[in-house]
């Protein structure tokens, strides 16, 4: 997988884990490779969560924090396979609507409460309760009906309809399991001081400044994907909020912090050469960063114009210049680390200005005006692109370059920079030709959320819709819904291959780069890794040497 770049640190971590497991005490391993107990790791993030409970709202910063203090019902390995965690094993009914989980009986939350079937019920009920305002976790389990608890350690979950992606989404930190008594305190209090059963516990949150975690000394239920068992190595974990990219990177380069998230692209090249630093970079599963083309209005209601636009954009050239050659373009509608992603469709998105010109001529946009833009019936071939202020300067520069290459083919690309609420407003009213989006999730079911007609309607106030392309295709809907009724792996793979083919051949998105987690690590920190479900950093196996 070419875009799957795990650099020095992970290989080192894997090696070290092997050494630690196999050779511990033999004295063969070098001192610096043996995990050291104790100490504080300082982690700096760019975005502060608005709530530490990942069930509420559900934005990426929340899952990063939740991964440190919660455990999930099931785990996911790097091949996308589901394994045990808090649930030892499970059975699925033939109709795909009843999941029976057999739970571990030795797990306690950090407030002393026992983990049991009632806790599973409390968590799923909490997620689905509208008062929780759970848009991500709640959105993923809309099929949830109820949980029954026949005994202390058996939880039977009933779904309204078959949902083969259920286990996959359960592996995401967004659905991490929290202590029922903590959830019962009410949303806002639980946001401030949530309680999980994970390797760390949240002790303090100074907003706009830092979140402090301490080791959970009783932890002995790490998932099979972990590199060790027992309590975490670190005594403390300090999660600093440093939004400015240059400040965050300078803090890392000066050794003021041990790990930073979202290493700025302009600093990556230098960091790779810096002997004090390592990079840990991994794509996230889901629908890559893209601009959805609005098929509901001209000019993109014409598939030829859509294809021409996709092929007129020199994405790799733009990525190379904006990200200094450190980003690869997306391989298709699913990023490479998504289960069932196929690399076969990248060619649909190749830069091909000759074909673009030909298609536009065919579609009737054959004349050009004085500026070189194509015209038809007196109208200019204009593409309005919404750029939200949350998209950051790099993505904006990327679009400036796409604007420039598309202009050569005769598209007049208008970049419209908007604040978040204005962006949502335009989005809700379908007033755009292209709009930037991405979707991080560990299941190919993301295709249904982003492209099926089920998600065309107003999911939120103001008409916001997850399917930003306006694509409505009964054949596609049937394929993705059938995939949800199928638990057999080979059949699911075939169905999702069909789904990707339909999407790619309809030219619905200009794909740019896969979302990724990009960490910079100072030499003082070892053993940091990224889990596979959303490429979230796991500091359970990490240690520091200062």
């Amino acid at each position: 997988m070419s875009s799957f770049i795990e650099r020095r640190a992970t290989t080192a971590a894997a090696l070290i884990a092997l050494l630690a497991a196999g050779l511990a005490g033999t004295g063969v391993a070098r001192a610096e490779d043996v995990p050291a107990k104790g100490g504080t790791l300082i982690y700096a993030t760019d975005r502060e969560p608005t709530c530490l409970d990942p069930h509420v709202d559900g934005d990426m910063p929340q899952v990063f924090v939740a991964q440190q203090y919660t455990d999930s019902l099931v785990s996911q390995d790097k091949d996308g396979r589901i394994g045990p965690w808090l649930a030892k094993d499970w059975t699925i009914s033939d109709d795909g609507k009843v999941y029976t989980f057999h739970l571990r009986d030795d797990v306690t939350f950090t407030n002393g409460e026992k983990f049991n079937a009632a806790a599973v019920k409390a968590n799923l009920d909490h997620i689905i309760n509208p008062a929780t305002q759970s848009s991500t976790a709640g959105g993923y389990i809309q099929q949830y009906l109820k949980t029954e608890t026949p005994d202390e350690h058996t939880a039977v979950v009933y779904l309204k309809k078959p949902y083969a992606a259920f286990l996959e989404v359960l592996a995401q930190g967004f659905l991490g399991i929290e202590a029922p008594s903590a959830l019962a305190r009410g949303r806002d209090e639980n946001c401030q001081s949530p309680v999980g059963s994970g390797p760390f516990k949240v002790v303090k949150w100074d907003r706009k400044s830092e979140i402090v975690f301490e080791r959970n000394p009783d932890y002995k239920w790490a998932p099979p994907t972990a590199k060790h068992q027992g309590p975490a190595y670190l005594d403390r974990l300090v999660w600093k909020i440093i939004p400015e990219p240059s400040v965050r990177f300078a803090s890392l380069a000066g050794g003021n912090v041990d790990v930073i998230e979202s290493i700025p692209p302009e600093a990556e090249e230098g960091a790779a050469k810096d002997g004090n630093l390592t990079l840990l970079i991994k794509d996230r599963p889901g629908n890559p960063t893209n601009s959805a083309l609005n098929t509901r209005r001209a000019p993109f209601d014409d598939i030829r114009v859509r294809e021409a636009f996709v092929r007129s954009a020199d994405i790799q050239g733009a990525l190379d210049s904006v990200f200094f050659g450190r980003y690869q373009r997306a391989p298709g509608p699913l990023s490479a680390v998504t289960p069932f992603a196929s690399p076969d469709f990248q060619a649909h998105y190749d830069y091909d200005p000759d074909r673009a010109n030909k298609l536009l001529d065919e579609a009737g946009w054959s004349e050009r005006n004085a500026n070189g833009y194509r015209i038809k019936d007196g109208k200019t071939l204009t593409v309005e692109v919404l750029i939200g202020d949350f998209q950051g300067p790099a993505e904006r520069s990327l679009w400036e370059q796409i604007q420039a290459t598309a202009a050569e083919t005769g598209f007049e690309v208008k970049l419209q920079n908007l604040g978040f609420s204005e962006w949502l407003d335009r989005m809700g009213k379908w007033q755009y030709d292209a709009v930037g989006e991405y979707w991080n999730t560990n299941t190919a079911d993301v295709l249904r959320i982003v492209f099926s007609s089920e998600f065309l309607g107003a999911a939120g106030s103001g008409g916001y819709h997850q399917n930003a392309t306006g694509f409505s295709n009964p054949a596609f809907d049937e394929v993705v819904n059938k995939a949800l009724e199928t638990t057999e792996e080979g059949k699911r793979r075939a169905l999702y291959l069909d789904a990707q083919k339909i999407i790619a051949s309809n030219y619905l998105q200009v794909l740019t780069f896969p979302q990724s987690t990009r960490l910079g690590i100072y030499k003082t920190a070892q053993g940091v890794r990224l889990e596979p479900s959303l490429s979230v950093p796991v500091l359970y196996d990490a240690w520091v040497r200062k």
Partner: protein
């Protein structure tokens, strides 16, 4: 952003900082402003390339031959962008001051001349608005109006208006109570004639200074809003926007931030110096 209301607040104590700069400073400042105005009218005369034209292969060139101020992350020539930005920035400065004045002059005059009730009420309204920190007022308006140059002018103008309003209000009150107005009244001149011939000119004269200095301050304010992402939108060649785009690269390419910033400083400095010089000339004439 320094002290936008500086002049206005201070004017109420009827004195302004005295000029102790040599005339050479004033001449240099005027020269700079003239060049700036020329650049904004005929940018092509000065610029060496298209300010919006990207050239990815030329990204992050340090200052040198061909690109005196270097190039930015998309390979655009920063010198040309600064030149084209002059027009935008002057437009912002002049526009914002015009908006401020359009609000402040009627308020101040009505408050100063409209009788007791108007005096009380407008004095209070101006107090309220003045106690809103300018940037917060502008922030609210910018968020309300959305991005772009037009909203930025309005937001900056509205943000600064209370300061000017208070200044004009105070000036009107003090002129109205001045001896020569009494004298004119005793001579039997009509109130309108007094307002037109006596009060307005005496209120407006110090305004020339305020306006000159205010333009520089308004440029700083609007660039602060652009810097926060609320004003002119990239890739517009506006100095504050250029600064905001450049700040992520500050350790890799200092020239992205230094040159637009330097021009903001020089413009503000020049308008201050020229304003003070004008003030000295006016004071010399009136006293």
């Amino acid at each position: 952003m320094t002290i936008p209301l500086s002049t206005s607040t201070f004017a109420q104590s009827r004195r302004l900082p005295k000029v102790s700069l040599p005339p050479v400073g004033a001449s240099l400042a005027m020269l700079f402003l003239i060049v700036l105005i020329a650049a904004s009218i005929w940018p092509d005369l000065f610029a060496t390339s298209n300010p919006l034209k990207i050239a990815p292969r030329l990204a992050f060139r340090p200052p040198g031959l061909g690109h005196p101020f270097g190039t930015d992350q998309s390979g655009r020539d920063i010198y040309s962008r600064v030149i084209y930005g002059a027009g935008q920035s002057l437009l912002l400065g002049v526009g914002a001051v015009a908006v401020s004045m359009a609000l402040a002059i009627p308020l101040g005059l009505i408050g100063g001349l409209g009788g007791r009730l108007a005096e009380r009420f407008i004095g209070w309204v101006l107090d309220v608005l003045f106690s809103f920190p300018t940037l917060i007022l502008a922030l609210l308006f910018a968020a309300h109006l959305g991005g772009g140059i037009g909203p930025l002018i309005v937001a900056t103008g509205v943000g600064n208006a209370p300061g000017y309003g208070r200044m004009i209000f105070g000036q009107t009150l003090s002129v109205r109570r001045a001896g020569y107005i009494e004298a004119a009244r005793m001579l039997g001149h009509s109130p309108l004639r007094i307002i037109w011939r006596q009060i307005l000119p005496n209120v407006m004269r110090p305004l020339i200074v305020m306006v000159t200095m205010g333009i520089g301050q308004a440029i700083v304010w609007s660039s602060a809003l652009s810097f926060l992402g609320l004003g002119a939108q990239p890739p517009a060649a506006e100095w504050g926007t250029m600064l905001a785009m450049g700040r992520d690269f500050v350790s890799r390419a200092w020239w992205l931030t230094v040159f637009p910033g330097l021009f903001i400083v020089l413009t503000t400095l020049s308008t201050t110096v020229v304003g003070r010089y004008l003030q000295r000339c006016l004071e010399g004439r009136t006293s």
